[in-house]
């Protein structure tokens, strides 16, 4: 075990408390504001009410938007997980010409402002695919999101693979396991935590994305961030956004819990 002096432990604990304070102060202000009577969030809150909760409960567009966001984020996460892992293995196992370029290509979608990525995709969709008689519609949004999510999975998995013992795979192959068997029984368990972390971040990034989505979502389809953007643009019910954010935070305990369980299960195996 890491032996640290008492003072160091206290100092580390202090840093952790500070981080929690930093991360949760805005969230607390936000959650309290979901009970704000006023149309516009503010501080201090002058009068409390549950009217925005009641309003949100019977407001269908929120549910539609939430469903769209979950669908898109799930699709993007699945595609990005597969592609990101493939690239990570290629980058780990081989040295080849243009390796650096591949790395840059993967990071590019998040490094460029969303508006560039979004407009680039929507250009291609409307100027090339649609005239060819191929209407990409809803899937276009998933394609765009997957593209900027690949880096999340790739980076996490790659970081883990670089620290992994290659002898294990060789041993497995020597023992006669096929590639798939080796992957499933030997390799995958070793990077599963990083994979789960990457997939989670990919899901979160897609779930949150605003700018690329504006340009790639088909007409009439709102994801949750687009819906929030809309509400923020029309201040007469801006406070309802806080209710939705609060609910989403609570709902998100589910995927977070699942990924925690995954991580713990792996620990037990070791």
């Amino acid at each position: 075990m890491l032996r640290l002096s008492r003072l160091t432990r206290v100092a580390l604990g202090g840093v952790v408390l500070f981080i929690l304070f930093f991360m949760y102060t805005p969230l607390m202000v936000l959650i309290l504001n979901s009970f704000n009577e006023s149309q516009i969030s503010g501080w201090p809150i002058e009068s409390f009410s549950t009217k925005w909760w009641e309003f949100a409960r019977s407001y269908q567009p929120i549910r539609d938007a939430l469903l769209n966001s979950v669908l898109v984020a799930t699709g993007a996460m699945v595609i990005a997980s597969i592609l990101g892992t493939l690239v990570a293995f290629a980058m780990k196992g081989f040295s080849f010409f243009g390796k650096g370029t591949v790395n840059i290509l993967i990071v590019l979608p998040i490094a460029l402002p969303g508006v560039v990525t979004g407009v680039a995709f929507s250009n291609t969709y409307s100027n090339f695919l649609t005239p060819m008689g191929f209407n990409i519609g809803y899937f276009g949004m998933i394609v765009a999101h997957s593209t900027f999510c690949i880096v999340m999975v790739f980076n996490n998995v790659f970081a883990r693979l670089r620290r992994m013992n290659p002898n294990l795979q060789e041993a497995s192959a020597d023992l006669g396991a096929g590639l798939w068997q080796t992957f499933r029984l030997v390799t995958f368990p070793q990077f599963r935590t990083s994979f789960a972390a990457g997939a989670l971040l990919a899901f979160a990034l897609s779930f949150d994305e605003v700018v690329v989505t504006i340009f790639t979502a088909p007409p009439g389809v709102d994801t949750l961030p687009l819906w929030i953007l809309k509400e923020v643009g029309r201040p007469n019910q801006a406070s309802v956004v806080n209710v939705v954010a609060t609910v989403v935070i609570l709902l998100s305990l589910i995927p977070v819990y699942i990924s925690q369980r995954l991580a713990r299960a792996q620990e037990d195996e070791r």
């Binding site: 952790v16 929690l20 201090p44 290509l105 979160a204 305990l253």
Partner: protein
């Protein structure tokens, strides 16, 4: 369990792949590269090629041609240069703060906290990811307005926040992207075998020395992975600056303003974040290989 000789016969596909690393590489890369290059890079290229094109001042439609004026503008107009430098500074600061916070947090969670506390902390650092990007930015606004939460809380101490400006943009971006750094770093520290620590302390190393000599080198890949997120995401962001930056302008603000009115300028200016990321990755790779020596 099959033996090696079985395997040659019974698993033709596996053995084929084993013997041909090139085929393996191609099969690994073909799908992702088709996706990235075929879908994304082609789209991007079609957009960015306009950096050399002309724009009709009347209709703001572009027509093919070749001129370098747009690039010259990006490198000569002082406002554009200042904005590039400012954005780079912001992205680097965000990354530095994220590293400085994520490493102690990761060590505390992985090596000091009891399992129950560790699990709670792991949930606690991922939870804010879900509050929604715009919602979090607006929440930061509420915290840092003149009569907002921060000044309200600090008033007894006589401290006042800086008002909407570059420091608040940095804080907001740190807030937005911190989990993207914290998660990989924590995961990496988690995976350091406990016996390494024992060995280090058996050899008489003190806590800090262990952290410095053992932990940091082992988690450099994770820090680099996380920093690629925080750096790149900050580089391209402009909504945070719009909401919490006061009069702060970032690269994304200029690109967004030009993208339909003057696509060539937007395209030319997009080369700046691309260049920054390329340089960043090169430096990161150099660091990564140094650490492995």
């Amino acid at each position: 369990m099959s033996t090696k000789s079985d395997f040659r016969g019974s698993r033709p596909i596996s053995s084929f792949f084993l013997r041909k690393p090139k085929v393996r590489l191609i099969s690994l890369l073909s799908l992702p590269m088709t996706w990235i290059v075929g879908v994304y890079i082609v789209s991007l290229f079609l957009l960015l090629i306009t950096a050399f094109w002309n724009v009709d001042p009347f209709t703001s439609r572009v027509s093919p041609g070749f001129n370098l004026e747009n690039f010259i503008m990006v490198f000569t107009v002082p406002a554009y240069i200042a904005t590039s430098i400012r954005t780079l500074f912001i992205a680097l600061s965000v990354t530095a703060i994220c590293v400085l916070l994520a490493v102690p947090l990761g060590i505390y969670m992985a090596k000091i906290a009891k399992p129950w506390l560790r699990n709670i902390l792991a949930v606690a650092i991922t939870l804010p990811l879900w509050a929604g990007y715009l919602v979090k930015i607006i929440a930061m606004r509420l915290v840092f307005t003149e009569e907002g939460f921060f000044n309200w809380l600090m008033a007894p101490l006589g401290i006042r926040g800086p008002g909407f400006s570059i420091p608040i943009v940095i804080l907001t971006l740190t807030y937005l992207w911190f989990p993207y750094m914290a998660l990989p770093v924590y995961t990496a520290i988690r995976q350091i075998p406990p016996n390494l620590f024992d060995a280090s302390s058996d050899m008489g190393a003190k806590g800090f020395t262990t952290v410095y000599r053992v932990v940091i080198p082992l988690i450099v890949p994770a820090i680099i992975a996380g920093s690629v997120f925080t750096f790149s995401l900050s580089l391209g962001d402009y909504l945070a600056a719009r909401f919490t930056g006061g009069a702060t302008q970032m690269i994304g603000s200029i690109i967004a303003a030009n993208i339909n009115l003057n696509p060539p300028v937007a395209a030319a200016y997009s080369m700046i974040p691309i260049a920054f990321v390329v340089i960043y990755l090169m430096v990161a790779r150099r660091t990564g290989s140094l650490e492995r020596m």
